[in-house]
Amino acid sequence: MEQLAKQKIIQDLLPQKFGKQGKIWVAGLIVLCIIGVVAYIRQLSKGLVVTGMRDYVSWGIYISNFVFFVAISLVGSLITAVLRLTNVHWSTPLTRIAEIIAVSAITFASLIIIVDMGRPERFYNLFLHGRLQSPIIWDVIVITTYFFISILLLYFPLLPDLKIMLEVKKGFSKGMLKFYSYLGSFWKHTPGQIKLSEKAIGILAVTIIPVAFSIHTVTSWLFATTYRPGWDSTNFGAYFISGAFLVGAGGVVVAMYVFRSHYNLKEYITYDHFDKMGKVLVMLALLYLYFNVNEFLVPAFKMKKPEEEHLRGLFTGEFAPIFWFAITTSMLVPILILITKKGRRPFPAFIAGVLVVIGSWFKRYIIVTPTLLHPFLPMQDVPANYKHYFPTWEEWAIAIGSLAGALLVITIFARIFPIIPIQETITEKEEHEKALS
């Protein structure tokens, strides 16, 4: 009986071939990536002049996209580390989803920051002439560390599953089996190995929390270490981290829904998961809302002269539509949807997740660009187009291409590896049954 259940779990969770929809999805993503690459080649040959950025708005959607990627990658630490260390077991099926989102997002964060550089071919100068007092160097250090810890947190729990797939064999091409045995043939699932792996994962889960806090705090310091109104804030680290957990959790809910319906995982990603993740999202949205209140209402109460222009631009001026759109879609509406029991069913939760992710992308834009259009000294002695910013098609193509690339990495990962940890699901079930009897 037990053996049968185990076989069923393995069969259900093995990676599946792309269906028709899957193929269209992958093809679409590849096309978007190619358009992005074409736009980047244009930028490389002509310079950053192909973007809408100029001397005042010297950081545009590349940087807000970078912040978005770093933010969404934080969810890896939330689900795999924070929930694991607090002994929460319901999140087990979601760990791999969260971790691959983290790895893919942090990879594209690094790529998009290179895209933003005026001289990408001099990237090595960061290592040759790096100066430790620059927040950019801190970012390079912590992002690299986070990347490697996330890779390991993805890899170690994958080892038992690799063994399972190598044993099943059926349905896998020779190349894939070779790849699996290259990655994990040394794993024999002995008690010693299991103990070692669990210990390693435990250590990584503890380490990744400060590193995750660091990556987003340092990213917020890229702004907060300057004098500019809108960035010059002691609230920025906490504000960024709470926002990051929100968008990451939103991303996980979206991914849960998509994998659940396309891979037929209804028994593994249940209503209960959506219910719990929905509650987590409400809590995170309220937390982020709290930091937003601090970030905007306190300076708005004082209306210091340099802040005034910036805040008026956000509340009622040029940026008001995007500002209120971002606040509403990333926080208010998702809270209203998810606060009810009905709203935490898979489909409405999925919609709320999508809103969170879209709203959060525009929220990052609102954090980066409006500040740059409100310098201390008036904008003067520059061509008229320097006083506004609207991204060009090249910028859109590259930004969208990078988002498509991140989704492509996640999709391909789910094609090659089980997106829900097989071994962990079996172990949990066994332990659950043991506890019952």
Binding site: G47, D55, W59, G118, S134, P135, I136, T225, V382
Partner: protein, 306 residues
């Protein structure tokens, strides 16, 4: 600037004499001066002033242009000039926004059309106060926010107080532009349109020429001119003597025509610096627009409203 003029003349004459001496004494081909060997007198004579103040006459064919001072090495450019602390004082009472400073600076540094390292702002501090023109450029801060954030030491602070950019090292991250509260930095968004002769020069931090695509540029206080004992281009281009440049350790600033004791000038005229509260400690002082030479006329605004 009498002393400077003398030193330049001296320099020219010594160079010339050295050339003549080499040409006169060598029978073999001189590896240092190939030109002098092949010169045939043209018969046309020119008068020159020697180091001792004598008027001398030599054949025109022996005249040869003295090359500019050789570029200093990157290490020397990063060190700066020892025993100096450069400072600029702007007398706001004298400015009528002729922008000669701007055009001279743009011309000498081959700045991309449309961009400016010097900007002349029409300023009005409060609703009922009088407007005035405020020329602004890099403040060469003693606590430069741009240098703090540069990840690769491409922008740096020298011992003589000048903040420069090494365009051969800059990675174009533009963090310095975000960090600068004075919005003084510009970026080379495209390949600068330079004459081949300029574009082929090796980059020098001290001349900031040639500007390079994908890197940041800004006012450099013309340290190449300082090495020659001359004033920055903006200072000498201003017909109204708005810009006063000098050395804080010598306690003098000059616009070429008038020289002042820096400390007295700042004390007597109540000099101030921009955004003192930020703690950036600029090397750039302003004298308030008191007792003005010109009325404030904003023609740009009039033209814009037309």
């Amino acid at each position: 600037m009498n002393t400077n003029d003398n030193s330049r003349r001296e320099f020219l004459a010594t160079g010339l004499l050295a050339g003549l001496a080499l040409a006169g004494c060598s029978t073999k081909k001189n590896p240092f001066d190939e030109l002098a060997n092949d010169v045939k007198p043209s018969g046309e004579m020119v008068k020159l002033l020697s180091v001792d103040g004598e008027v001398i006459e030599i054949d025109k064919a022996f005249l040869k242009p003295v090359p500019d001072l050789p570029q200093v090495s990157n290490e020397a450019a990063r060190m700066g000039i020892a025993g100096k602390k450069f400072v600029m004082v702007i007398d706001l009472a004298r400015c009528k926004s002729l922008k000669k400073c701007q055009s001279a600076c743009n011309h000498m540094h081959h700045i991309h059309p449309g961009q400016n390292w010097i900007k002349v702002y029409p300023m009005q501090d409060a609703e009922h106060t009088a407007p005035y023109w405020q020329p602004t450029t890099c403040m060469h801060c003693d606590e430069p926010p741009c240098v703090k954030v540069c990840p690769v030491d491409a922008t740096f602070k020298r011992q003589d107080g000048i903040v420069l950019i090494d365009s051969d090292r800059c990675i174009g991250c533009r963090f310095c532009m975000a960090a600068c509260p004075y919005s003084t930095r510009v970026f080379n968004w495209e390949e600068p349109s330079l004459e081949k002769e300029i574009a082929d020069k090796p980059y020098s931090c001290e001349t900031s020429v040639p500007q390079k695509m994908g890197t940041v540029g800004k006012c450099d206080f013309c340290p190449d001119m300082a090495r020659k004992g001359e004033l920055p281009h903006c200072v000498s281009a201003c017909p109204n003597g708005v810009f006063l440049f000098g050395d804080m350790l010598e306690d003098t600033v000059t616009n070429g025509a008038e020289t002042f004791r820096f400390s007295d000038l700042i004390k007597d005229k109540a000099g101030y610096r921009l955004m003192e509260d930020l703690g950036t400690k600029p090397s750039f002082y302003y004298l308030p627009p008191v007792g003005r030479n010109f009325p404030f006329e904003n023609n740009e605004k009039k033209e814009a409203t037309k």
